[in-house]
């Protein structure tokens, strides 16, 4: 005689229905029938999935689901049941629209996300165009005031002369030797109207060239440049040069006369 404790009685019920120690599936439990080992619903509706089974049963009906599964291949049954359970749960959540409501909501989300993506892409395009425009503007401005690599460019001064610059931005040797440079004797003035109206050189014809240090650096790049400069400024430079020369060649006798006590031995 088995003691009829509450736990035992339920166990007895299960044992009676299943014929073993395992519980009946949710389908057989609902239908109050014996759950055989080859129960078609058992793999998809374990005992703890009663609510899911009820949803499926309400929408499709057990017989319809079984007929449907019979038409499918064994490998497809599991996937088909997952889709059926999903569809039934969606219908339970939304009795009017079911899965169609989910589809419509997803389509709206796609439209919204696509619109947002298009907006962001437009912004990126705008920024790229902005930076391209800025780069082209700076390039154009550089072109106007200096030369390109390996090429000479010609820059007009405000006095109407045209000077030739080499790739380093310095006056070419040809220009330094030219008569136009000899005659002009003015520093290279590059008027940068494009750069806030500031020019590199503020030199005027009256200004002393020695004060313009960048000008010196600009010209005296090579030793030959110094000689050319000497030729160009002949009057003042030569005289100072002669003075230096004479100072270097003071006769020895004169030196001796100045300090006889030291020099005489």
């Amino acid at each position: 005689m088995i003691a009829l404790l509450p736990q035992t009685s339920s166990l007895m019920f299960n044992m009676t229905v299943k014929g073993g120690t395992s519980q009946a599936c949710a389908s057989c439990k609902y239908q109050r029938r014996r759950c055989h080992d080859d129960c078609a619903m058992a793999p998809y509706f374990p005992p703890d999935r009663l609510k899911q089974f009820l949803n499926v049963h309400r929408l499709f009906g057990v017989s319809n689901v079984q007929k449907h599964l019979q038409r499918l291949h064994e490998s497809q049954k599991s996937e088909a049941m997952k889709a059926i359970i999903y569809q039934a749960n969606a219908r339970e959540r939304d009795p009017v629209y079911g899965c169609l409501g989910v589809i419509v909501r997803l389509q709206r989300e796609i439209e919204y996300t696509q619109r947002e993506l298009n907006l962001v892409k437009c912004q990126i395009l705008f920024y790229q165009q902005q930076s391209d425009f800025q780069a082209r503007k700076e390039h154009h401005q550089r072109q106007q005031m200096t030369s390109f690599i390996g090429e000479s460019c010609y820059q007009a001064t405000e006095y109407g002369d045209v000077i030739e610059l080499n790739s380093n931005g310095h006056m070419t040797q040809e220009y330094l030797n030219s008569s136009s440079f000899q005659q002009s004797m003015i520093p290279c003035e590059i008027d940068l109207k494009d750069f806030n109206s500031q020019s590199f050189y503020q030199a005027t014809p009256d200004q002393d060239y020695e004060d313009i240090k960048p000008f010196d650096q600009f010209f005296f790049d090579a030793k030959d440049d110094i000689n050319d400069y000497k030729d160009a400024y002949e009057s003042s430079a030569e005289s100072s040069f002669k003075e230096v020369q004479s100072a270097d060649h003071v006769p020895e006798e004169e030196l001796k006369s100045l300090q006889p006590s030291i020099l005489a031995k």
Binding site: R58, L59, L72, P95, I124
Partner: protein, 159 residues
Amino acid sequence: MGGNPPCASCKLLRRRCAEGCIFAPFFPADDPVKFANVHKVFGASNVSKMLQDLPVQQRADAVTSLVYEANARVRDPVYGCVGAISFLQQQIAQLQMQLAVAQAEILCIQMQQESISLPLILEDMGSKPLVHAELFPFANYGSTSHAYGEAPKRESMWA
């Protein structure tokens, strides 16, 4: 023996189409396939019970969704309309990824622009014009005494 012609459901089920037939407004006789699919997938009794549980004004929409799901299940016996849901969810995931990438790109561009505009801001504030000094070492700026002391640099002119 006059009377309304039977609706598609009653014709398929071979029964008399009563006056208050619940299917009659939604399944006219000229479209038998519509009800046939619904009956095949869900069953007439299940559809009838579902429609009865809903208010009258919502029944038309419910029938529309049921017809859609039934047709999808007939077209795709394994996944039905859930296949379309899965496809749409993948599309959303891809779009969201693209959106995240694009938004990150915008952030980078904005950060770059802020770093470029910083020297120009300093110039406006009265400090030495870093950009111009680098580009033009011969510039006769009163405040930039360092420009005079520097030898002309090839690289800086093209900075």
